[in-house]
């Protein structure tokens, strides 16, 4: 068997091995996935370790013989090495690259070259090795290797490791990266000024000034002057030298001013983004939430009631003023266009939004949001507010689970009010719940107190409850049937839902008894 065949076979073996995949997945959960809880704790642990090991290093300078320090340093070094290797491992799936290359060759009838595949694998891994964070990691490890002890200073690089674990530090790096062009321009200018200044002072003063002997002295002097620090250890003695230093000081102030303004302005721009990031981070922490698109009056009413019930909410509206209002009320609000799939995607609605409420005041927008939400999240319950009753069908076509038209309800209530004023009062009471009478459902499960009992046994009238009906789910088809006003000998089954009417406390008492385990 050739080497290539062996490698391919091994790659396929890894590809099909469940435990290998699981192991790698576990490592990724620990190190990479931003949502994983364990990564959060791991990050905290690493920050602690980095700080501790640096403190130990500092302590060791004067107390070289403490064995416990050595233990801590060696231990943390071991963990750092392990982390580095783990990251190296999970950065890419080498076996996948080999398989992909091999299958590509098979499909296109080309000869498979093991060498080319391996080059790809190595190149991918080298990508990791030369990524800035990996370099920092490596520099934090290397100086501990005895022959490289002279690199001790690089141990301080461990502090830079903190970049990996702190988001805000990443932002700072991002700012530097973003303003690369401006900073480079400024650096070139400053470099030119320093070069010109130091050569000038070197030429003018080398023989007159005992303190300036080498070009290094000259450069040191010009940087100290330009940075407006001016220690005064080297002072120009000739008139030419003084003239150079005056020019240098003015240019130095200019360079510093430019540098400050570039960074500050960039920070300010980033600040808005940072705040937003914070918001998204808050949302990322929510495991389940209800998304409300549109914080108009309907959105407001729904949000208020849901918030009071302790549900996690995320509100999107294009109007910044409305979002501000929502935020003042302690809700999470995002200024944005809910019809954009990208926004909905970043919010992670496909996994974490249980309900999506489309409550903007435009049918077109609501339908659009319904469609984009449905395409992202097949399981969330989408509830839409219909503006024009004629469009209701379109909502259901777009994938909404429920669509309400306020006009329709008002129309019904209005007509009821005229034709049957008393039943209107009843209906109004039920809908508004102002009277204290509510409709609620009570779920019967395997161990419910009332499981397998008849409706009579519930003795509802003595509990001052009215059984409106029972929803039964067919076990095989999962379809739901509604039994209105079931007969007295109707026997309850698990997974039935009783729809009862009554005062809230009476329903709660009934529910509590239902939750008690049956006597058997």
């Amino acid at each position: 068997m050739s080497l290539a065949a062996l490698v391919i076979r091994f790659a396929y073996f890894l590809d099909t091995s469940v435990s290998y995949r699981r192991l790698k997945e576990a490592a990724r959960t620990l190190l990479e996935y931003p949502h994983s809880k364990i990564k959060f704790y791991f990050d905290i642990f690493m920050v602690f370790l980095v700080v501790l090991s640096v403190l130990c290093l500092l302590y060791e300078v004067k107390h070289p013989d403490e064995s416990i320090l050595e233990w801590i340093i060696q231990g943390s070094l071991f963990i750092f090495i392990l982390e580095y290797l783990l990251r190296f491992w999970i950065y890419s799936d080498s076996h996948a690259i080999v398989i992909e290359d091999y299958e590509y060759a098979l499909k296109n009838n080309l000869p498979f070259s093991l060498g080319r595949a391996l080059v790809k694998v190595v190149r991918k891994k080298l990508d990791y090795v030369f990524s800035p964070l990996a370099i920092i990691d490596l520099l934090a490890i290397l100086p501990s290797y005895r022959p490289l002890r002279f690199l001790r200073i690089f141990l301080l690089f461990r502090i830079f490791k903190l970049f990996r674990y702190a988001r805000s530090m990443k932002t700072f790096a991002a700012i530097l990266h973003e303003k690369k062009f401006e900073l480079l321009t400024l650096a070139i200018f400053a470099g030119f000024v320093i070069f010109a200044g130091s050569s000038a002072i070197y030429i003018f003063e080398t023989n007159q000034n005992p303190k300036i002997n080498t070009l290094f002295d000259a450069i040191y002097w010009s940087i100290v002057t330009m940075g407006t620090v001016g220690y005064g250890d080297i002072v120009p003695l000739t008139q030419e030298g003084m003239a150079v230093s005056m020019v240098l000081i003015i240019l130095g102030v200019c360079v510093l001013a430019f540098l400050t303004s570039i960074i500050v302005s960039s920070f300010q721009n980033k600040l808005v983004e940072l705040k937003e990031n914070r918001l998204y981070y808050d949302i990322e922490k929510l495991e389940r939430y209800i998304l409300i698109c549109g914080y108009g009056r309907v959105g407001e009413v729904v949000a208020k009631m849901l918030h009071e019930d302790g549900n996690a909410l995320v509100i999107i509206d294009t109007d910044a003023a409305k979002i501000k209002l929502a935020q003042e009320r302690g809700l999470i609000g995002i200024v944005g266009d809910a019809s954009k799939s990208k926004l909905l995607g970043t919010l992670g609605i496909e996994k974490r939004a249980t309900h999506i409420i489309c409550a903007t005041n435009s049918d077109e927008l609501n339908i659009f949001i319904t469609l984009s939400a449905r395409s992202l999240s097949p399981h969330a319950t989408i509830i839409a507010r219909v503006i024009k009753a004629a469009h209701k069908k379109k909502y259901l076509l777009a994938g909404a689970n429920y669509a309400f038209s306020a006009d329709e309800t008002i129309g019904l209530l209005g007509a009821q009010l005229v034709t049957q004023p008393v039943s209107y009062a009843a209906l109004e009471g039920i809908l508004s719940e102002n009277t204290g009478i509510v409709f609620e459902s009570i779920f019967v499960h395997e161990y419910s107190f009332f499981n397998r009992q008849t409706v009579t046994a519930l003795s509802l009238s003595s509990r001052r409850l009215l059984l409106f009906g029972i929803v039964r789910q067919d076990e095989s088809t999962c379809e739901k049937y509604f039994f209105f006003n079931p007969a007295d000998d109707f026997v309850l089954q698990p997974h039935d839902s009783l729809i009862v009417m009554g005062r809230k406390h009476a329903i709660n008492a009934f529910r509590k008894q239902n939750e008690k385990r049956s006597r058997e």
């Binding site: 108009g296 549900n311 306020a406 008002i410 129309g411 009215l466």
Partner: protein, 232 residues
């Protein structure tokens, strides 16, 4: 009250919904708007519409307010119109029931002061429905499909007459109505105040002529009950 006229001010979508329902049940109503453009829209939907400046009290009186008007609906899309109209109508007729819709929270209170009998807040109602749908999805689904929906479960009010066997009985004693596949939701007792009393409140009520029962059930069951007990 079938002969009393119902005035629907403001040709909004809500007005259209109410008008459609009233027309189906054969009630006499008039659609009114100040905007002549509404006339064209109304005719397109198959309704007639009176164009009238509601700011003019004489014009309101000529519509029959304080004479044969039984209900006034203020259904403009603009709260300012609704409040003004409510006030004008209330000034002419202190007794006519005025039903107004509102679009902002502030207007609710203003309409109350202006003298509206019932205020329908579409946003509040939609919001509550959505809330209920999230917290109690099954209940809302049932309420939607039965009471509001197309399924044959209806809510109806029945008035106890002099000749009804129910007249003079105690509600708790009488259980004959249990033989019908319907639920007694509650009642409106003439002797008590205007409020609707839900059956689950558990008071023992003596039924008298004029009391109104509200039941839920299929149309045919309700009809059977109605004829068997001489209700109206």
């Amino acid at each position: 009250m079938n002969d009393a006229l119902i005035l629907l001010f403001g040709f909004s979508r809500t007005a259209l919904e109410i008008a459609t329902k009233l027309k189906k049940q054969g009630y006499a109503f008039r659609l009114v708007d100040y905007d002549p453009a509404a006339l064209v829209k109304a005719q397109k939907e198959g309704f007639d519409l009176i164009v009238c400046d509601y700011g003019d009290d004489d014009a309101l009186e000529s519509l029959g307010i304080a004479q044969n008007v039984g209900f006034v609906f203020c259904l403009f899309d603009d709260d300012v119109h609704n409040v003004f109209l409510t006030l004008s109508v209330r000034a002419i007729d202190p007794n006519v029931p005025i039903i107004a819709t509102t679009h902002t929270k502030d207007a609710v209170h203003k309409l109350e002061i202006a003298g509206a009998t019932t205020i329908l807040d579409p946003y509040q109602i939609t919001g509550k429905k959505i809330y209920k749908l999230i917290t109690q999805p099954e209940v809302m689904q049932i309420v939607e499909t039965t009471i509001f929906g197309e399924e044959d479960v209806n809510m109806a009010q029945l008035t106890v007459t002099e000749t009804s066997p129910l007249n003079g009985t105690l509600l708790s004693q009488y259980s004959a109505w249990k033989a019908y596949n319907m639920l007694l939701l509650g009642l409106h007792d003439k002797e008590f105040n205007k409020e609707f009393i839900f059956i689950t409140e558990g008071h023992t009520h003596k039924l008298d002529a004029g009391d109104v029962l509200v039941v839920i059930g299929s149309r045919s069951e309700i009809r059977r009950f109605k004829t068997d007990f001489c209700l109206e």
